[in-house]
């Protein structure tokens, strides 16, 4: 199924489909889209050998804006679909993408199990700390005191956000990174590195929702690169670092070489011979 070499795009524009994004003007996801194109270009990926899988949400609309194969599925299940694609078709590059609600609220179980299973795919989450598509409810990464939502009481829900990267790490993710949509080149290079990484890689992109969380425009003043230029490789050290972190540290924060999981294969048997066990006498 290898495609002719000529199908490999030579410009960012070739990676973009002709579908117009539904996103609000200024939404952080636009630049994540361009980071994907840049990363794919850098990796010289072939669109017909690339599968972009997403759930439901503003961010989950992304696959259709690229010229790769895509599956815009249902809310919260993208990682399960992605694992199915990769396990059945190890020759494809599989990238799963979506939002913080999709991935960490309704999709939380698949997230921790994807980290544990360590199938060779890349998960890029556009974290805007809100449910954009359903018009502004708190997500698992939303601050406890954010209350500019019709579904949050005055003063906020009072439920503390959790740190999905720390959870991912403890669940077994072998590559953990954070980037900011305001720095599309950095995001592109981290996505490229994550795709190169053999095993399950998580990239959390801080991507402001300018409509329901206007204040996130100020994130550009809070983000900062990690002190170490090299990722931590010890799980315990990384766990400590992530739990002590302010949530705005950018870079590849943890990486290890745990081999990607591949399903068991056994000595071949012809399908026609599988019934031997049922024959009596």
């Amino acid at each position: 199924m290898n495609a002719p070499a000529c199908s490999i795009p030579t410009s960012v524009a070739e990676w973009r489909s002709n579908l117009k994004p539904v996103w609000c003007p200024g939404c952080g996801d636009f630049s994540v889209l361009s980071s994907f194109a840049k990363a794919f270009l850098e990796l010289k990926l072939d669109p017909n050998q690339t599968a972009m899988i997403s759930g439901i949400g503003c961010s989950s609309r992304l696959p259709a804006y690229l010229t790769s194969y895509g599956y815009h599925s249902i809310h919260g299940r993208a990682l399960a679909i992605g694992a199915g694609v990769k396990l059945a078709r190890p020759d494809l590059t599989v990238v799963v993408t979506g939002g913080d609600g999709d991935g960490f609220s309704i999709g939380g179980n698949h997230f921790i199990h994807a980290c544990r299973r360590n199938v060779d795919m890349t998960y890029v989450v556009m974290d805007n700390r809100v449910y954009g598509m359903t018009k502004g409810q708190p997500s698992p990464t939303t601050e406890a005191d954010w209350d500019n939502s019709a579904m949050a009481p005055p003063g906020g829900t009072g439920v503390a956000p959790f740190n999905p990267l720390a959870i991912g790490l403890t669940a077994g993710a072998s590559f953990v990174a954070r980037t900011f949509s305001g720095d599309p080149n950095h995001t592109a290079s981290v996505i490229a590195e994550a795709i190169r990484h053999p095993g399950f890689s998580v990239v959390l992109v801080l991507s402001p929702c300018v409509t329901f969380r206007e204040e996130e425009r100020l994130w550009k003043e809070r983000v900062h690169k990690a002190a170490n230029t090299q990722p931590i490789t010890d799980q315990a050290d990384a766990a400590r670092m992530l739990m002590a972190d302010d949530g705005f540290t950018l870079g590849v924060l943890y990486k290890n070489e745990r081999p990607a999981w591949t399903p068991s294969q056994r000595a071949p048997v012809a399908v026609a011979d599988l019934d031997a066990q049922f024959r009596t006498g």
Binding site: Y71, R77, G281
Partner: protein
């Protein structure tokens, strides 16, 4: 569909030279005992010996709530002819002890013509059994076993029963050799001695039913769950993601062993939401995928199945039905997931629902379901039942239908160089599907309503066209004769489905002997409905008996909703776990026949 070509067969012993000299063609027996008594081992050995002697058999099990230990009963029917149903009652119950036998006394169905073989040292025969009026015969199995070093009462019981029903003791001992000798010679010797002692003692128990002799022939011993799994791989399934659940787990266990040997993939998922969606991912990638579950798991897969329908991604789920609702009765059989299978999806979501009619038919039906789902790019639900999935049958080797997945794939974009239309409006409703890796056909599959290209659309026209295409591709497909088992030409028709088909068939034979001609209609394809075919099947029928194992007449309601039935319709229905037996159907038919 009867006879040789049918995926399952009933009727006379197929060996033409079979000259059964005795009247009995079928014997039903039960081994009972508490955990560790080895009743299942004894039953399996008897089944193997029976198969080698040319007999047919059906072997179900009933057990208590304990995970290990606890009381259990092996329920067997052996016959000189293919068996597809339990009989009306148990002819012989042999009990090593009485445990909590009252828990399943109802399933034993004893009557005055039955014989209870009891160990006098195990105490009184419980009233709930003795009240049946069955003759009680004593066999001191425990004492006899103790007299043999290493001897066990279950082997005494096995030897006795073999003699009583006419299974050759030599064949039994030959089988013991195969299974035990290699492991431990002393265990083998002890078992042989115990079997022989039981056989010897049986002579004093008084004559019971003896089966005729059949010359040995090729046989399969297989459970419905194994058959479904084999059907899946024969149909082309090469991917299974799954989460264990009783009584479907054995399908998964078999696939987890087989798939890695044939280049396929098995993955244990974190839950059923993951398993169905992993299957959709594999199928999107071009690999036929299937998972198996039971009611609670199916409930969790509903949203994923809807995505399969809307994004036109083929996938098959085998639902091995158990007692419902909710967690219900996980280890017992029922036909009560029909409603959810047919109508459980939200929105207008046409899909396939098939039902296996016997243990052997689990193979054909699953294989067919896979090829249909692949051909029609949709979701297929195969309904089987605990009583099929976890029961073992000795049957004639089923023919391989040869059906195998053929997906209509797109190889290149439109000839005019136009953009690839994943959801093109073709005459059949099936659109060529590009498999990732196909150059120039990239598209994004979507569960949002979409245009022919797959672009999200909320326009009324796109919605109408895509809904109509998804309906049409299923309704207009030619499913052939296999859509239903249809037999006979009487003016009374019996309509049933699933495992009950076997009992219905047997009841109809009995009615025929009584001079009443009854037509059998048992749809294997439940959805889409086949109004034209059903009308033809019902031609000339003026009374219908519907038979089903649900409390709320799910099947009858469904038949009424999509088919035109004659004015006179009766329904014989009951929830699980008690099987619907040929005798009660026969009775219902006769009273219907006389009143109509």
């Amino acid at each position: 569909m009867v006879g040789e070509t049918a995926p399952f067969g009933w009727g006379k012993c197929k060996n033409e030279d079979c000259m059964s000299s005795e009247p009995d063609t079928s014997v039903s027996l039960a081994f009972a005992g508490s955990g560790g008594a080895g009743v299942m081992t004894a039953a399996n050995m008897l089944i193997d010996a029976a198969a080698k002697s040319g007999l047919y058999a059906l072997f179900g099990r009933s057990s208590g709530p304990q995970i290990r230990g606890g009381e259990a009963a092996a329920l067997l029917r052996l016959s000189t002819q293919p068996v597809s149903s339990v009989d009306d009652s148990t002819d012989i119950l042999i009990a090593i002890d009485w445990g909590n036998v009252d828990r399943f006394s109802a399933e034993l169905a004893l009557r005055s013509s039955s014989v209870i073989i009891a160990d006098p040292d195990a105490g009184e025969v419980p009233a709930v059994l003795a009240n049946s009026g069955a003759r009680i015969a004593h066999l001191p199995m425990d004492k006899m076993a103790k007299a043999i070093p290493g001897g066990r009462p279950n082997m005494i019981a096995l030897g006795a029963v073999a003699v009583l029903i006419g299974v050759p003791v030599d064949v039994l001992i030959e089988g013991l050799g195969k299974s035990l000798k290699k492991k431990r010679a002393d265990a083998y010797e002890a078992s042989v001695a115990a079997v022989r002692a039981g056989a010897e003692a049986a002579k004093d128990l008084g004559a019971t039913r003896r089966l005729g002799v059949c010359p040995p022939g090729a046989r399969w011993a297989i459970t419905g769950n194994e058959a479904a799994a084999l059907g899946a791989v024969r149909g082309g399934v090469r991917f299974c993601a799954a989460y264990p659940i009783t009584p479907g787990t054995e399908i998964l266990e078999w696939l987890s062993g087989a798939l890695p040997k044939i280049g396929g993939v098995f993955v244990q998922a974190e839950d059923e939401l993951a398993s169905i969606n992993m299957c959709l991912g594999a199928s999107f990638g071009g690999v036929p995928a299937l998972t198996a579950t039971a009611g609670p798991g199916l409930a969790l897969m509903i949203e994923g199945l809807g995505l399969g329908v809307a994004s036109e991604t083929p996938v098959v789920v085998v639902d091995v039905q158990r007692g419902g609702p909710s967690t219900g009765i996980p280890t017992k059989s029922e036909q009560s997931d029909l409603d959810i299978a047919l109508h459980g999806l939200h929105g207008d979501a046409p899909h396939l629902v098939l039902a296996a009619q016997s243990i052997g038919d689990c193979l054909f039906t699953t294989q067919w379901a896979v090829t249909l789902a692949e051909a029609l790019q949709t979701v297929g639900i195969v309904l089987t039942e605990q009583s099929l999935g976890q029961s073992r049958a000795v049957i004639d080797p089923p023919a391989d239908s040869g059906l195998t997945a053929q997906r209509l794939t797109a190889e290149t974009p439109d000839e005019d160089g136009l953009r690839y239309q994943r959801y093109a409006l073709t005459p059949s409703g099936v659109s060529p599907m590009a498999i990732p890796g196909t150059p120039g056909c990239q598209y994004t599959a979507d569960g949002l309503e979409h245009s022919v290209y797959g672009n999200p659309s909320s326009a009324a026209l796109d919605h109408e066209q895509q809904l109509e295409k998804r309906r049409r591709k299923l309704d207009d497909h030619d499913y052939g004769d296999q859509w239903a088992t249809i037999e006979g030409t009487g003016r009374v028709a019996l309509i049933t489905w699933g495992s009950t088909t076997g009992a219905a068939h047997e009841a109809i034979q009995r009615a025929k002997a009584d001079g009443l001609d009854v037509r059998l209609i048992s749809p294997r394809l439940l959805l889409p409905a086949r109004p034209r075919e059903m009308q033809a099947a019902l031609d000339g029928v003026d009374a219908v008996l519907v038979v089903e194992q649900s409390h709320s007449k799910q099947f009858l309601r469904y038949l009424r909703s999509v088919y035109t039935l004659p004015a006179k319709v009766d329904c014989l229905f009951r929830a699980g776990p008690l099987a619907i037996r040929p005798g009660e159907i026969h009775h219902a038919l006769m009273s219907m026949g006389s009143s109509s």
